[in-house]
């Protein structure tokens, strides 16, 4: 399992822990989040994110999740 897949697996298992970051971008390694930021550019510029090349996800808000379900 590479780092990216490990970060994705962590995010699936611990998804409810990520809800508090709604509207933000989160970088996740195999041990959990390593960085949170309001924009993807800020997140990608962080030293640990550049070094580890982790799994990246944006946590949608409740309204955004519902907007997709209503499509």
């Amino acid at each position: 399992m590479d780092v990216a897949t490990a970060g994705y697996s962590w995010s699936v298992k611990h998804s409810s822990e990520l809800d508090k970051h709604a509207g933000k971008w989160v970088a996740i390694s195999n041990d959990g989040p390593i960085a949170v930021s309001g924009t993807l550019k800020e997140l990608m510029d962080k030293k640990d994110v550049k070094r580890l090349n982790p799994f990246i996800t944006r946590i949608p808000t409740k309204e955004e999740v519902l907007s997709v379900l209503r499509l």
Partner: protein
């Protein structure tokens, strides 16, 4: 080969989000995208597109959702790594940032490369090679 995934619970809703590596001109992002059989096209989130160096110059396409909402996309061909396979497919970059809250894997590209099986009762989905 078949890759199995669990639905991801976000804000109390379960969604089929698959891990995908997107590459364009040497820039790579490891992220996830919603598997959406209702979408003809795949769409990359605007901020991810910007990080990949997409610059709103691709072929223009206008799409409408089932709810009637229109979105204008610039189309690009990206390198993908999904479920252990590498392939190229087209993605739309929304003209307006925030138009699409997720990256979306639609029928063109993804559903042409994989047999997609949703196991709703188990909250799982599987991607198999054609």
């Amino acid at each position: 080969m078949t890759a199995d995934f669990e639905y991801k619970c976000i804000q109390g809703e379960k969604l089929p989000l698959a891990p995908i590596k997107l590459t364009h001109l040497g820039r790579t992002i490891l992220t996830e995208a919603l598997i959406d059989s209702g979408s003809a096209l795949s769409i990359v989130h605007g901020e991810i597109g910007e990080q990949l160096g997409l610059v709103h110059r691709g072929e223009l396409v206008k799409i409408s959702g089932a709810g009637g909402k229109e979105t204008v996309l610039h189309m690009y061909e990206l390198d993908n790594e999904l479920a252990g396979r590498n392939f190229k497919s087209k993605f739309g970059l929304p003209m307006k940032r925030g138009d699409v809250p997720y990256s979306i894997l639609g029928r063109d590209g993804i559903f042409e490369n994989f047999e997609v099986k949703f196991r709703q009762r188990e909250s799982k989905f599987a991607l198999s090679d054609y």
